[in-house]
């Protein structure tokens, strides 16, 4: 039923319908009765307390983390120093183990190299293999290093003085190096 037809209907209908029409009119629904309100204060307090506790906790946690971070940095520094110290001590130890140093010290104390006949004692059978002989005196090895680079000024270029009168003469090295000896095969 469209609303445009309503006036015509009303005009045509008898009064008996009026009640129904009255009833069909929209009215405001009565407001439901409100329940008694719960007190708000405890809730707000609780939420505030939780938030405060959270913020405080976070702050404390952060502070302690920060402290730990400082401590970690300090400990890392310390570890680095100790590592460096350990390395320094190790390398000192390694220098003390230098065989050259040990050999020099041993020879200073009169020790010599074992060059006599060797013998081996088998601890299991108690048998001695080989004939034992004592070390010989004065058998040592050099403990000084071969020479360093000579500064260039110590080796000036060779000056050749040519004797004009005897210019055809060739002065050979005292070792007498000669070429052309290859038809001999002095292999041994």
């Amino acid at each position: 039923m469209s609303s445009s037809t309503a006036p015509q209907l009303r005009a045509r209908l008898p009064r008996i319908a009026e009640v129904a029409v009255q009833r069909a009119r929209l009215t405001v629904v009565p407001r439901p009765r409100t329940r008694p309100r719960a007190p708000r204060v405890p809730f707000v307090t609780l939420v505030s307390a939780i938030m405060l506790a959270g913020v405080l906790g976070l702050l404390l946690f952060n502070t302690s983390m920060q402290q730990a971070s400082f401590r970690a940095s300090a400990l890392e520094d310390q570890a680095m120093h100790l590592t460096a110290q350990e390395q320094a001590l190790r390398s000192q130890l390694q220098v003390l183990r230098d065989p050259k140093r040990i050999a020099a010290r041993a020879q200073d104390r009169g020790m010599v190299l074992p060059t006599g006949a060797a013998c081996v004692l088998d601890l299991g059978s108690g048998r001695v293999a080989g004939t034992c002989a004592g070390a010989l005196p004065d058998v040592t090895i050099p403990t000084d290093a071969p020479g360093r680079k000579r500064p260039a000024f110590l080796d000036p270029p060779t000056v050749t003085v040519a004797d004009r009168a005897a210019s055809s003469m060739v002065i050979e090295r005292p070792e007498g190096r000669r070429h052309g000896a290859s038809d001999r095969n002095p292999q041994r």
Binding site: N62, M65, Q66, A68, S69, F70, A72, S73, M80, H81, T83, A84, Q85, Q87, A88, R90, S91, Q94, V95, R97, D98, P99, K100, A103, L113, P114, T115, G116, A117, A118, C119, V120, D122, A129, G130, T131, A133, I141, P142, T143, A145, P146, G147, R148, K149, E175, G176, R177, R178, H179, A181, S182, D183, R184, N185, P186, Q187, R188
Partner: protein, 594 residues
């Protein structure tokens, strides 16, 4: 009427119609806005991370986590090269110039550096960065700088500068090489030897840590990324540091004693091919390489070739026996001179017609006898044997610049060359090649690739080397190798041999002398100088060590007089050091004459 009209015409261009002015205004605004838009597109579209990164960079600390370079160790784990944390001490002259003399005397005393030089550096004008000392061990550097701060000196600081140490200085320097001054970024500059050949293997990869900082400490829960450093690998060598030292010293004594020019000594484990010692003389100190000439930064045992001389006869005669062309007791008539195609062949001693056995040819080192014995070979067979012994091919033990020697090939291998090669001329070898070849006889005819690296390691060119990759191959039969060893024992016989001086009391030793004419570098011809050498192994019947001593340009005599005693010392020391008991069997008595 001209007045107002002129006025109007003069005013019109100044105050154009509002539309026009608006339009111009809009165009200007549009232009400015499009510049903004373009910049916006650039920032957000083309390069969105740049500014974000710059913002993040503020307050972010990046720390390099340096990788530690691997150590080079000997077979017993003794460090031959090690890296320690180091610092460079740097001064800011703008701050140090005022108390320069006091600070310079403090630094020179503590660091052992030159006073005048430090003083100059502390006073350089217009500079804010001067090196005071480089590669100072970290503990010392930190101590010195903090002590200086305590004394009230300002302007000193330290930076990372890793230190490479060679605690044994000269021991194995010929093989180890060294590192130069580190590059600006702190990476190593390998300049020679194994340090150079295995640079990538030893180096490792630097890591990096990035984190947010506040007040000098890391912010917890802040951004934090760590790429850990990958440390370099340790390189374990087959060398025995003590034996290496002893070998170097004995070699030094030998070369100096014979007034020789240079020398090489190699000790090899007969059973595994591991090089236990490899000495070159003259060498240098890896801790102070700048004090020695550059020509010494190498191992001439690998980089230099020479003619092996009579030690080669061992290879030739073992091949003769293996090919079934002779036996140790086989009889030969050796004439005083053997006239061959281009020139006569002589022996080192003057003799009439000699009746020598094959053992006698080796014991007395007869060139003529060796040539006669080798005459039985079909063409190309001797070369095949020598190639199988490893001559003419690099040993690839590690260090760069190894020579492969010279073994004539094809048309270059003429009959004359064949004769001379039989007794060790006209071919050239490096010392490691030669000892590996002779070791084949010690190891019952099986050649083992020599190795300098324990296990496996990768060279910079990608090749894997080391004992894990050492191959074995049979060159001569067990019987041929043992018979050759017994013949070599006759070389050391006091009556029948030429080198009783190389005997080791209590042990059976097999050996061979060599006195070769030397090709001079200057003229490329034989200049009359000689290379004296001695190679041998012991105990003969259960070989443990093969030792080779070479002295170039020796004045004190031939192989037996010069290199023999050195061989005996080294063999005696090695046998004792490794507790090898004497085998207590009788040495061979194969007759040398008939």
């Amino acid at each position: 009427m001209t007045g107002p009209s002129r006025l109007r015409t003069a005013r019109t261009p100044l105050r154009a119609s509002p539309q026009l002015r608006l339009r111009i205004g809009f165009i200007l605004i549009a232009m400015v806005l499009s510049v903004f838009a373009a910049r916006l597109v650039q920032l957000q579209g083309v390069d969105p991370d740049n500014y974000a990164d710059m913002a993040a960079e503020e307050g972010t600390d990046t720390v390099l986590l340096p990788a530690t370079r691997g150590e080079i160790l000997d077979r017993n784990g003794e460090a031959l090269a090690e890296s320690i944390d180091g610092r460079m001490i740097v001064a800011d002259p703008a701050l140090t110039a005022d108390d320069a003399p006091e600070l310079a005397s403090f630094l020179s005393k503590r660091l052992g550096i030159d006073y005048i030089r430090v003083l100059e550096r502390l006073r350089v004008e217009g500079s804010r960065f001067q090196y005071i000392a480089r590669q100072v061990p970290a503990s010392l550097a930190n101590e010195v700088v903090s002590d200086a701060a305590d004394k009230g000196f300002v302007g000193l600081f330290t930076q990372r500068d890793p230190v490479r140490q060679y605690p044994f200085d000269q021991v194995a320097a010929n093989l180890l090489g060294f590192l130069g001054t580190p590059r600006k970024d702190g990476s190593a500059r390998a300049l020679a030897g194994l340090e150079d050949a295995f640079n990538d293997y030893l180096s490792g990869v630097d890591g990096e840590a990035r984190y947010e900082v506040g007040a000098g400490a890391q912010i917890p829960l802040g951004d934090n990324t760590v790429t850990p450093a990958v440390d370099g690998n340790d390189l374990t060598l087959t060398l025995d540091a003590d034996l290496q030292f002893y070998t170097q010293q004995v070699l030094q004594q030998t070369v100096e004693g014979s007034q020789g020019e240079s020398g090489i000594a190699v000790i090899m484990d007969s059973r595994t091919g591991e090089v236990l010692a490899l000495a070159d003389y003259p060498s240098y100190d890896a801790s102070e390489p700048q004090e020695w000439p550059k020509s010494r930064y190498r191992s001439s045992a690998l980089t230099d070739v020479y003619e092996p001389g009579s030690t080669q006869k061992v290879l030739t005669l073992s091949a003769v026996i293996d090919a079934g062309l002779g036996r140790p007791r086989q009889q030969y008539v050796v004439p005083p001179v053997l006239n061959r195609q281009d020139r006569p062949i002589h022996d080192h001693w003057v003799h009439g017609i000699e009746h020598l056995t094959l053992a006698g040819i080796l014991a007395k080192s007869s060139n003529i006898g060796t040539v006669l014995a080798a005459d039985e070979f079909a063409p190309g067979v001797l070369r095949r044997y020598l190639t199988a012994f490893g001559l003419g091919k690099e040993t690839n033990v590690g260090p760069r610049g190894e020579t492969k020697g010279l073994l004539p090939e094809g048309a270059a291998w003429t009959d004359q060359v064949d004769d001379r090669i039989a007794f060790g001329q006209s071919l050239s070898v490096n010392a490691v090649q030669m000892i590996a070849a002779i070791n084949t006889i010690a190891n019952d005819g099986v050649r083992i690739d020599p190795s300098l690296v324990e296990g496996s390691a990768t060279l910079d060119d990608g090749t894997e080397v080391g004992t894990d990759h050492a191959e074995q191959r049979r060159v001569v039969s067990v019987e041929a190798a043992r018979q050759t060893a017994l013949m070599m024992e006759r070389v050391l016989d006091p009556e029948d041999g030429v080198a009783s001086i190389a005997q080791v009391p209590g042990y059976r030793i097999a050996g061979k002398t060599g006195t070769a004419q030397r090709v001079s570098d200057a003229c490329g011809c034989y200049d009359g100088s000689r290379t004296a050498s001695f190679v041998g192994f012991g105990p003969t019947d259960d070989a443990r060590f093969t030792i080779y001593v070479v002295v170039h340009d020796s004045r004190g005599g031939g192989g037996s007089a010069v290199a023999g005693p050195a061989f005996a010392k080294l063999m005696s020391y090695a046998l004792r050091r490794y507790g090898v008991p004497p085998t207590e069997t009788r040495p061979s008595q194969i007759p040398v004459e008939w």
